[in-house]
Symmetry: C2
C-alpha cells in the first residue's frame, strides 16, 4: 500500500472531477424560475431588512413573497388546521395517549385523541419506515375518498403515497420517460414539469392554453402538437394537464376533458392529471372540479378500460397548505401491473414517504364529520381559508383589469393569478440591453420598488410576444398589496411610454 505523499500532483495541477462540463449534462439545462434570480434577490432584501431594520435604505419595510404557493409561510395569515396539528402532535409523542392521557384530555378534543389512537395502532411509531407505497390503511382511506368523490371504484394497491405531488410527478416521469420521449405540457405550466423533463433528457411538447378563452385547453391544439412531434420523429408518450390550472386558475369543463381523453385513447398517450388544487374551487356551482378519473370512467367501456391515467394530489395546497410536511399521493388507472411493479421498485429505493406527510394525507381524505367535536372548528377554519382566497382573487383580478396596460383572466380556483402586461416597446428594448426577458425585468423592478415578489410569465411559458406575471392570492392586506402593484405599474408604464 502506498503511503501519503506530498510530492505534488502527478499531472502538475489538480483538476476537480466535478465541473460544469463534466457533471450530468442534463442538469445545467434544468430551469426552475419559481426559486431563481428573483427569489435570491428577495432573500437578500429579507436579510437586509432583518439585519438593519431601521436603516435598510430600501423603499419598503417588508418583502411580500407572492412567488410561491406556500400558505403557511411567515408574513401570510393562513394558520394550520387545528385538528390536523392536534392529531399529529399526539402521534409524535404517544405518551400523551397513554401515561399523560389525563392531562392531554384537558387540551385535546376527544376525536383528535381517538383519531391519533387509531392511527397509532395502525402505524406504530412514526419514526419507523412504512411500506414504500405508504401505510396500507391510509391508502385504503384514500381509495374510499376517491370512490366517494367520483362514484367509481378505486384500488388501494394502485395508490402510492408520496413526498408531496412533486415527488410523485418526478417518480412517474422518471419511470415513464426514456430519454428523448415527448411529453405534452401546457403553456403556461408549473415549471416542475419542464425542470423534470430537462433532467430526464425528455422532450417537452408545448401546447398553448387560450388566454382569450379563459385559459381553456383545446383538443385541437393538443392534437396539432402531437402531429408536429410525430412528424419530427419524437415519440409522444404522455400528456400533462393541470386542473385547476397553475398558474392560470382555470377549471376545465367536462366536455373538454372528454375530448382530451378521447385523444389519449386514439393516440395511445398516458394522461398525467395534476389535480392538486381540486379543493380550491371558487364557484362550485358554475365551475365545479371534476376529476379525470371520473370523466374517464364515464366514457365508453373500451376507453374507460384503456386510457392510462395517473392523477396526483397533495396536502400542500387545498385548505391545509401543509407544504413543509411533504405529503401527497397518486392513483394509477389502467397502468399495466408489470409497470406498476417498476414504480413500486423505484419507490422502494427511496424507502418511504415521510410518515407525517402520510398522516397528512389521512387527515386530508378523512376530515372530521358533522357531529364530531372538532367538526365545527374544522369547518370554520377551512371555509374561512377558502373564502379569503376567493375574495382576494376576485379583488385582484378586478383591480388588475382596471389598470392601463394590464388585463387578467379571473380565476375559477387554485391560488394564483396570471395578469398580462402590455410592456411598452421602450421597456422591451431596455430589457434587451439588460440581457433579460421583458417580464423578468418587470418582476425584478417590481421587487426593487415594492418588495413584492412575483414570478415572470416567461418562467411558466407564454405566447411569444406576450408578457405576464404570476402572483399568489395568499397575501393578507390585499388592498395595500394591490395598491403597491398599481403605483409601480402606472409608473412603469409612464416611464417607458
Amino acid at each position: 500500500m502506498s503511503t501519503p505523499q506530498t510530492n505534488g500532483h502527478p499531472k502538475g495541477k489538480f483538476t476537480p472531477a466535478l465541473r460544469l462540463d463534466t457533471i450530468n449534462g442534463a442538469v445545467p439545462n434544468v430551469q426552475y424560475a419559481v426559486r431563481g434570480e428573483l427569489a435570491l434577490r428577495a432573500d437578500k432584501y429579507l436579510h437586509k431588512l432583518h439585519d438593519h431594520p431601521k436603516d435598510h435604505g430600501l423603499p419598503f419595510d417588508r418583502v411580500v413573497t407572492a412567488n410561491i404557493g406556500n400558505p403557511q409561510q411567515a408574513g401570510l395569515d393562513q394558520k394550520p388546521i387545528t385538528f390536523w396539528r392536534q392529531v399529529i402532535s399526539l402521534l409524535e409523542y404517544p405518551d400523551l395517549l397513554d401515561k399523560h392521557l389525563e392531562v392531554a384530555k384537558q387540551i385535546y378534543p376527544v376525536d383528535a385523541i381517538e383519531r391519533a389512537k387509531k392511527l397509532h395502532a395502525e402505524i406504530g411509531s412514526v419514526g419507523a419506515y412504512s411500506q414504500s407505497k405508504g401505510v396500507v390503511t391510509i391508502r385504503r382511506r384514500v381509495a374510499k375518498f376517491i370512490e366517494e368523490r367520483d362514484g367509481y371504484p378505486s384500488d388501494p394497491e394502485h395508490i402510492f403515497l408520496t413526498a408531496g405531488a412533486s415527488g410523485g410527478v418526478a417518480s412517474i416521469l422518471g419511470v415513464a420517460l426514456h430519454p428523448g420521449d415527448g411529453c405534452l405540457i401546457p403553456i403556461p405550466q408549473y415549471p416542475l414539469y419542464t425542470a423534470t423533463l430537462a433532467y430526464l433528457s425528455a422532450t417537452p411538447l408545448p401546447y398553448y392554453l387560450s388566454e382569450e378563452n379563459n385559459w381553456s385547453m383545446s383538443h385541437d391544439t393538443i392534437l396539432e402538437s402531437v402531429s408536429k412531434a410525430r412528424q419530427e420523429g419524437v415519440p409522444v408518450k404522455s400528456l400533462v394537464i393541470i386542473n385547476p390550472g397553475n398558474p392560470t386558475g382555470a377549471c376545465l369543463d367536462r366536455k373538454a376533458m372528454e375530448a382530451v381523453i378521447q385523444l389519449c385513447y386514439e393516440e395511445e398517450i398516458l394522461l398525467l392529471a395534476d389535480e392538486v388544487y381540486q379543493a380550491n374551487i371558487f364557484y362550485p356551482e358554475q365551475k365545479p372540479f371534476v376529476s379525470f378519473k371520473k370523466v374517464l370512467m364515464g366514457m365508453p367501456e373500451e376507453i374507460a378500460k384503456s386510457v392510462e391515467l395517473v392523477s396526483f394530489h397533495s396536502i400542500s395546497k387545498g385548505m391545509s397548505g401543509e407544504c413543509g410536511r411533504r405529503g401527497g399521493y397518486f392513483e394509477c388507472v389502467n397502468i399495466l401491473p408489470e409497470v406498476m411493479d417498476q414504480i413500486y421498485k423505484m419507490a422502494s429505493v427511496s424507502l418511504c414517504p415521510p410518515l407525517t406527510g402520510q398522516i397528512g394525507v389521512d387527515l386530508l381524505v378523512s376530515p372530521p364529520k358533522p357531529g364530531d367535536p372538532s367538526f365545527s372548528q374544522w369547518e370554520e377554519e377551512t371555509q374561512s381559508i377558502l373564502a379569503n382566497l376567493k375574495s382576494r382573487s376576485a379583488y385582484m383580478s378586478d383591480k388588475f383589469n382596471s389598470l392601463p396596460g394590464m388585463s387578467c383572466v379571473p380565476a375559477d380556483g387554485a391560488m394564483y393569478l396570471m395578469p398580462k402586461i402590455e410592456i411598452p416597446t421602450k421597456a422591451i428594448e431596455e430589457a434587451k440591453t439588460r440581457g433579460k426577458e421583458p417580464d423578468v425585468m418587470y418582476a425584478l423592478d417590481l421587487l426593487d420598488a415594492t418588495g413584492i415578489c412575483a414570478v415572470a410569465g416567461s418562467g411558466f411559458g407564454q405566447v411569444p410576444g406576450t408578457y405576464h406575471i404570476r402572483v399568489t392570492a395568499l397575501c393578507p392586506g390585499v388592498e395595500e398589496y394591490c395598491g403597491k402593484i398599481e403605483t409601480f405599474h402606472k409608473e412603469f408604464m409612464e416611464k417607458w411610454a
Copy 2:
C-alpha cells in the same frame, strides 16, 4: 373540436403507452434486494399470521424482520428518544407553547419547551416550505456539530439538509454522474448505490472489501479497479466509501483513509463518504469513528484544499433511528461553487426536505447538554440503545462462529452482521434447479422455516463463489432468535451434506 366517439380504436386495438419495453430503459435494470422477493414473501406471511392467528399453518408465530435497519418498527424494542418526540410534538401544535402552555408544563420538561420555542421562532410553521437547502439556523448548528467533531471549520452554506441520506445520495449522484460515468463502490455494498447507478445509466466499478482482513478496504484494490476501468474507457468520476460499513460493520482506520484520499487526489476522483453509522460505534477506544472530513483536513494543504468530498449523515440510524421522519444532511468540501449552485437548483425543484426531518437533524446535532433537565433521560436512552446493539452484535457473531459451515467477522459498529455460509455443493445444485442464487435459496428457506427475514449476500455483492446473509442486530430476544437460525442452519447443512 372532435367529440367523443365509440367507433373503436383507430388502429383496431389499443396498446398502452407504458410497457416494459417502452418505459425508461434504465428502470428495469434497477435492483433493490433489501425490499425484493424476500420482503414480499415476508409480507405475505405477516398477513397470514394476522388474518389467521390460530390456524395459519406456518411453523412460526411471528415474522422477524432482520432485513432492514428500521429500529422503531413493530416487533423490535427500540423506543424513540423522549426529548426528540417532546420537542417535535410541541412544534406540531404550537398552541401548546402559547394558550395551553400552563397545562403543557405539566407534561413537557422546561428544556423541551425552550427548544421548541426557539425552533418555532426560527422556523415559523412546520407546515411551510423552508429554504430548499434547509432552515439556515439548523444548517448553522450542523456546521458547529461538524466543527466540534472534527476540529476544522465547516460552512453552513456548504451543507444541504435532505430527506434521509438516501435522498442526499440520489441528489449528488444525479448531479455528478453523466450516463456512462464510473463510480467505485465497495462490495459488499448497500444496494442504494447500485440501484441509483443503474437508474442513472452510470457504471458501477466494484472494489472488494477483504473479509479475511476484517472487511477492510485496501488502497491497492481500489487503484486496480480504477486502472481497469480507465483501460476500458470508463471515466472514473467518484468513489463511494461506507464507514462504518453497511453491511460489514467494519470501522476504517485512519491510515487506510489517508491512502484512499491520496488516491482521490492523484486520480482526481470525487469521494462520497456515507457516514450514517458514525454514532453506532461499539469499541470507541480501539476502533473509533474518524470522519473523512477530519482526515482530509489533516492531510498536506494541497490535498486538503483539493480533494472533493461529500459526506452524508442521517437521523435514521445512530441512536435516534428516526427512519420514518426522513431527515439527513450532506456537507460539500472542495466542491466548485458553480457545481454547488447546480446542486442547489436541483434541490429547489423538489422544494424542500420535510420540516420534521430537518428538526430531527437539529436534535441530532444539538442534543440535551449535561445539566439540562432532559439530559439524564436522554443519556440513559441513548446509552441503552447502543449497549443493546453492541451486546446483541457480539452475541450473534460469537454464535455464528460456533456453527459448522458458518463464520462471521465481528462488527466494530453499525447495525448489521454479514456471516459467511459454506453452502454445500448439493444445495448449490438445488438452487440452480430452482433458478436462484444459493444464498437467496438459503434466505428464503430460512424465512419459510423460522419467520426470520435476512437478506442474501448476493443482494449486496460478494466474492464470486462465497455466500452470505445480512442480518440486523436490532432484534430483541437475541438468544431465541439465534437459536432459530442455529436450528435451521444445522438442518440445512445436514440436508444438503
